[in-house]
Every structure is written in structure tokens, then in C-alpha cells.
């Protein structure tokens, strides 16, 4: 039941954070192992999804810190993994932006990357992000703003580098 309800959410968080499909699978498995061990400590007054995502976030950031040197490359933003974007904005320009932003995520500090992923990719509210990261709302907002600015600068630099802008 837990697998059906939460595996997709945890796997996508791991994939967006780590940037590697294979690694995301291993990380998801590790997170579920931890989840089954920690279930006894779950406080029923708390939101289960937020609690699970906090556990996942802690594992992802800890693992990243331990193996930082191996994490210099993210998977190519491959068509196999890309679902067609809805609406008229799914043009080539947006596809190129997505590719650059995807690569740029790997350049953010792990805490900033996690905050941006939760807010902008997973579409969580600032309050939810604050609960998952266990940080004050103001810190979360400034961290997300900083992450977006960094990504925007990556977008700018890469576009200028390829003379597309």
C-alpha cells in the first residue's frame, strides 16, 4: 500500500535531486528501507506525506554529502524521460530551457536544490516546503529565490555561450 501510494513521489524527488535514473532507483529503495524501520516513530498527529518527504530529503542530502565527488554529472535530459508538456508552450524554446534548467539544478547547493525542486517542480506551497525542510518560512522563501536566481543565471550564461539568446 505504501509502495503504491508513495513510490512515484519519492522516486521523482530522488530523480530530480540526484539527476540519475539508476541512482534514483537505488535511493528510493534505501528511503523505503528507512521508512519501514522508522514507521514505529511516526507521530500520528503529523502529516504523513510531509514526514515521509522529510525522511527522503534527509537521506538524499546525506547521501549527496557522502558521495559528492561522484555527483558531478546528471543524466542527459533524455526524450525517454520527457512526457509531452501540455498546452501551446511546449515549443522547442521551452524544451531547451528545461534541458538547461535540468542541468543547472546540479550546480545548486543540495539544500537550495531541494527547496527549488519541492516548490517549483513538485508544486508544494511554501508552508509545505517549510514543514518538509524543517526551516522557517522566511528562510525557505529566500532560499528558493536564491536558487531560482542561480538557475536563471545558468540559463543566461548557457544561452550566451551558445549564442542563442
Amino acid at each position: 500500500m505504501l509502495v503504491n501510494a508513495y513510490s512515484r513521489r519519492v522516486f521523482n524527488l530522488a530523480y530530480q535531486f540526484a539527476g540519475s535514473y539508476q541512482e534514483a532507483e537505488d535511493l528510493t529503495q534505501d528511503i523505503f528501507m528507512k521508512l519501514y524501520s522508522a514507521l514505529g516513530k511516526y507521530d500520528f498527529k503529523k502529516n504523513f506525506t510531509a514526514w515521509l518527504l522529510t525522511l527522503a530529503k534527509n537521506h538524499l542530502i546525506d547521501t549527496y554529502r557522502k558521495t559528492k565527488w561522484e555527483k558531478t554529472h546528471r543524466d542527459e535530459f533524455d526524450d525517454r524521460f520527457v512526457a509531452p508538456a501540455p498546452g501551446p508552450e511546449s515549443g522547442l524554446i521551452h524544451e531547451a530551457d528545461r534541458k538547461l534548467v535540468w542541468e543547472g539544478l546540479g550546480e545548486l547547493a543540495p539544500e537550495t536544490r531541494m527547496a527549488v525542486i519541492l516548490r517549483d517542480i513538485q508544486d508544494k506551497s511554501y508552508e509545505e516546503v517549510s514543514e518538509i525542510l524543517d526551516l522557517p518560512l522566511g528562510t525557505v522563501k529566500s532560499r528558493i529565490n536564491r536558487g531560482r536566481l542561480q538557475l536563471a543565471k545558468v540559463l543566461k550564461d548557457r544561452k550566451e555561450g551558445s549564442h542563442d539568446l
Binding site: 509502495v3 508538456a85 521551452h94 530551457d97 517542480i121 536563471a152
Partner: protein
């Protein structure tokens, strides 16, 4: 307002979270600063690009691995619990001591000497046991005869049908 200060407000500006005064400040800065205006446009594109990152499906193999975790954990915890059972702790402690002593014996360079000493100890122990056993045999005989004497004298008391009065004996 400096560009740095404006940068700190841009996300809130794009998400409509600023007050009217702050919006006016940001917009007047953006009208004068082409760098910040370009940054706002880039920030908007970044947010759209992030929102367009698709969700992936979990592969069937990963799903199967995840579904197998509770069973694996249950088996592991059964073995773990069995090994850590408190009632088994003295057995493990005794086995550890035995193995340590055995390793001292097996890997000792004077193993022959130890063998001889053990033989001597066993023999002297055996002879001591034999002596004790012999002593115990004679002691049993003596106890038996004493018991018979006591029984005879008790039987001779008046109270048991004899003719001796143990109270007024003197």
C-alpha cells in the same frame, strides 16, 4: 533601490506577494535597469521550465523491489531477534570463553607440556577421587553401625516397650 535588494524581491514580485508600495518600487527600478528587467524575464522562463519537468513512472522492477522490502525486513528481524535473545547471551558468553581457551591451547608452542600437565592433573584428580570414595565407603559403614546402636538403645526405652527409663536413668 539597489539591484541586489531588487533581486531579493523578484520571486515574491512574480508570485504577486508584494505590497503595492513594494511593487511600485520594483517596477520603477525595472524601468530603469535593463539587467534586472532581463533577469525578471529569465526568472519567469526558469520557473516555467521547472514546472515543465515531467514526473516519471516507477519501473516495474523497482516497484517489485520496494514491495519485497517488508518481507525481507521481517526475515532479517526474525534472525536478528533470535540471535539477540537475552536467554542466549550466557551461551554465547560461555562459547566465547571456551573458544578463547581453546585457541590458547591449540596455538601454544608448549602444547606437549600442557598435555602432560593436563594428564598429570587428571591422574592426580582421579586418584584423589578414588581415595575420597574409599573414605566415603568406610564412613558409610561407620554411620550404619552407629545408626544401629542408636536404634537399639532407643528401642530399649520404656516408652517403646523396653525396660530402660532414659529420664530417671540415674
Amino acid at each position: 533601490m539597489t539591484c541586489e535588494r531588487i533581486e531579493g524581491l523578484l520571486s515574491a514580485y512574480l508570485e504577486g506577494e508584494l505590497s503595492k508600495t513594494e511593487i511600485a518600487l520594483v517596477e520603477s527600478h525595472l524601468a530603469d535597469c535593463s539587467n534586472c528587467a532581463a533577469l525578471v524575464a529569465l526568472l519567469g522562463r526558469t520557473q516555467k521550465a521547472l514546472a515543465g519537468v515531467p514526473e516519471l513512472e516507477v519501473s516495474p522492477s523497482l516497484r517489485a523491489r520496494l514491495a519485497a522490502i517488508p518481507e525481507r525486513k521481517r526475515k532479517f528481524s526474525f534472525v536478528f531477534d533470535f540471535v539477540l535473545k537475552p536467554s542466549l547471551q550466557p551461551v554465547f558468553a560461555a562459547a566465547t570463553i571456551l573458544m578463547t581457551l581453546l585457541s590458547f591451547y591449540l596455538f601454544n608452542p608448549d602444547k606437549k607440556m600442557i598435555d602432560r600437565t593436563i594428564d598429570l592433573k587428571i591422574h592426580s584428580g582421579y586418584s584423589q577421587v578414588e581415595k575420597l570414595y574409599a573414605k566415603a565407603g568406610s564412613l558409610t559403614g561407620r554411620i550404619g553401625s552407629t545408626a544401629e546402636n542408636v536404634l537399639d538403645s532407643v528401642k530399649s526405652w520404656k516408652i517403646f516397650g523396653g525396660n530402660e527409663d532414659p529420664i530417671n536413668k540415674q
